[in-house]
């Protein structure tokens, strides 16, 4: 099958005051795949995410998404094109309840909510879907709890539910498992697998078992550059990857 590339970056570079955080990275993400981006701390993974979703402007390089050059777009527009990200440090709306968090995302699909003259009652139509999404991530009993009062792991789960609510074509997940208890890791893994059916996922993750289980393709970054690429089996045997990232002791 000819490769169907949904997102590609060419020569992506980001320089912070003389420090090259991302250095001439080429990245191709195949449509429908789960693509993992791994690498040591400070390798530039989050920076890459920020560049792809336009939270940062690249110093050099181009980004093409669905055959469209998005290098100069605004972050909100990226989300509108169907590419949505989560954050490494959890990002919820702390004073809204869990279900309201999800509804905010669902509401976006109504079109822009500038209608200040309508009653918010029109939003109740989303309650059903929102509850369903909360259920997917195991938060149904917390629907009415303010997000700020959830424990860390649950905040992460909520964040995923919110992201999914947008029904994005492509998802960028920054360490979705960080800080999650084992049971949740299992659940979220399954969730990711399930939603990946008709989506593309680009994911940063340090939990190697998750990476091994989920990803179709892996890009390893180190010091801002691509160190290795391939499937888990080949990448995990690459001595450079073992040295820089996995470490000798990992089973």
């Amino acid at each position: 099958m000819a490769q169907d590339i949904i997102l590609s970056a060419n020569g992506l570079t980001k320089e912070f005051k003389g420090f090259l955080a991302v250095n001439d990275v080429d990245l191709k993400v195949e449509r429908g795949s789960i693509h993992a981006l791994i690498g040591p701390n400070g390798a530039g993974k989050t920076t890459c995410f920020n560049l792809l979703t336009k939270f940062l402007q690249p110093s050099r390089g181009t980004i093409v998404y669905n055959d469209r050059d998005i290098t100069r777009k605004q972050p909100a527009d990226i989300a509108r094109l169907g590419m949505v990200r989560s954050f490494q440090i959890s990002a919820v709306f702390p004073h809204l309840t869990a279900i309201e968090n999800v509804r905010i995302a669902l509401q976006r699909n109504r079109g822009d909510s500038f209608d200040f003259w309508r009653s918010e009652r029109v939003l109740t139509e989303f309650n059903g879907r929102a509850a369903g999404l909360l259920d997917d991530v195991g938060l149904s009993e917390f629907a009415a709890v303010r997000a700020g009062e959830l424990s860390y792991g649950r905040k992460r789960a909520l964040e995923i539910a919110t992201t999914l609510a947008l029904e994005p074509e492509m998802l960028l997940l920054d360490e979705p498992m960080a800080g999650m208890a084992q049971e949740d890791v299992e659940r979220i893994s399954q969730l990711i697998r399930r939603i990946s059916a008709n989506r593309t996922i680009l994911m940063v993750e340090h939990n190697l078992s998750v990476v091994a289980a989920l990803s179709d393709y892996i890009t390893v970054l180190a010091r801002g550059k691509v160190l290795a690429e391939g499937d888990y089996a080949s990448v995990s045997k690459d001595p450079r990857v073992v040295e820089a990232y996995i470490g000798a002791e990992h089973a």
Partner: protein, 329 residues
């Protein structure tokens, strides 16, 4: 610990209550009660004083829309209040507009000014946002001081109250009172609707976590600008009405202390509550009215009241009440 700390430190959050989606029944009741009180009040109290209270109630509520629900602390709202007041005074006095048209004109001017200042100011956040608005407000003040048609220190005096729609004479205080009551009440309902609209819901989200809102695809600046303009416009409506009531537009209305006063009203009543600013404005206007006879002690008394209210009722009168009743007010 860290989580709670950053949250409470981060903004106006802790006082803001999340509302359930349907309009609580007690809100309807309170609005009805306010209306009844408003209709009966001029037969018990001095109508001009009541009109002053009404104008400031609207002003404070407009401000609260921006601060309490948009999370944006403007320190320059006097610019909108004052410029609208000048514009409507000028329209009524020089161009001979009917009061409703003069007020409309003033409100429109405030909205345009809000669009201008807002589109520059919303690019900044937090205290910087406050400062940019203050800076622009100072420029508006300067303009009002220097421009030929504003009458400098004297202001625009002897503004005619005119005839509503060219028909009803507004000179008798009672006639004017019911006109003002209608304007202000309509303004309050509009604000309530804005807060409880799909737009209002997005505002809450943006105030809570702007980055996340962006990543969900919301163009946050447009939302901020819209709420800014709405707030400026309603503040302008209050200012324009005040000019007609007092037949005067003066520098007080554009001075920075006016911006400060509206912050005080909102906080005293309870920021982020629906009814707080109403109470806050009523308290402060009443206080100013009755303290005037205390002469030089006025500022001392006023200061003491602020200190006490910050130390003891910092959630504002209505904020505390709402907590005690466990109902959003």
């Amino acid at each position: 610990m860290m989580a709670t700390d950053t949250e409470t430190g981060a903004g106006v959050g802790p006082l803001v209550q999340s509302h359930s989606t349907s309009t609580p029944r007690h809100h309807v009741a309170i609005f009805a009660g306010l209306l009844v009180f408003g209709l009966a009040a001029p037969f018990l109290l001095y109508p001009i004083f009541l009109m002053k209270v009404l104008c400031f109630v609207l002003f404070a509520c407009a401000f609260n829309l921006l601060l309490g629900f948009g999370g944006l602390l403007s320190f320059g709202h006097a610019a909108f209040f004052g410029s609208a007041s000048y514009a409507s005074a000028h329209a009524a006095k020089i161009w001979g507009f009917n009061p409703e048209l003069a007020i409309l004109f003033g409100t429109g001017c405030a909205a345009v000014l809000g669009l201008l200042i807002g589109s520059l100011a919303i690019r900044r956040q937090g205290i910087y946002f406050a400062m940019v608005t203050l800076a622009f407000a100072q420029m508006v003040f300067f303009f009002s001081l220097q421009a030929p048609f504003t009458g400098g220190e004297d202001g625009i005096q002897s503004v005619p109250r005119g005839h509503l729609f060219g028909l009803f004479d507004m000179a008798p205080d009672l006639n004017l009172y019911f006109f003002v009551l209608a304007i202000v009440f309509a303004g309050l309902l509009a604000i309530y609707r804005i807060i409880h609209s799909p737009f209002g819901q997005v505002l809450k989200a943006i105030r809570d976590n702007e980055q996340r809102s962006v990543s969900l695809g919301y163009r946050v600046n447009r939302y901020k600008l819209l709420v800014f303009v709405l707030s400026a416009m309603l503040a302008g409506l209050a200012g324009a009405t005040k000019a007609i009531v007092f037949q005067l537009a003066s520098l007080t209305d554009v001075y920075w202390t006016m911006s400060g006063e509206v912050v005080l009203m909102t906080l005293l009543g309870g920021m982020g509550t629906v009814f707080g600013p109403i109470v806050g404005a009523a308290i402060i206007v009443t206080m100013q009215n009755y303290l005037a006879t205390f002469g030089a002690w006025v500022t001392v008394i006023q200061g003491t009241i602020f200190v006490i209210s910050v130390m003891l009722f910092r959630e504002g009168v209505i904020g505390i009440l709402s907590k005690a009743l466990k109902k959003p007010l």
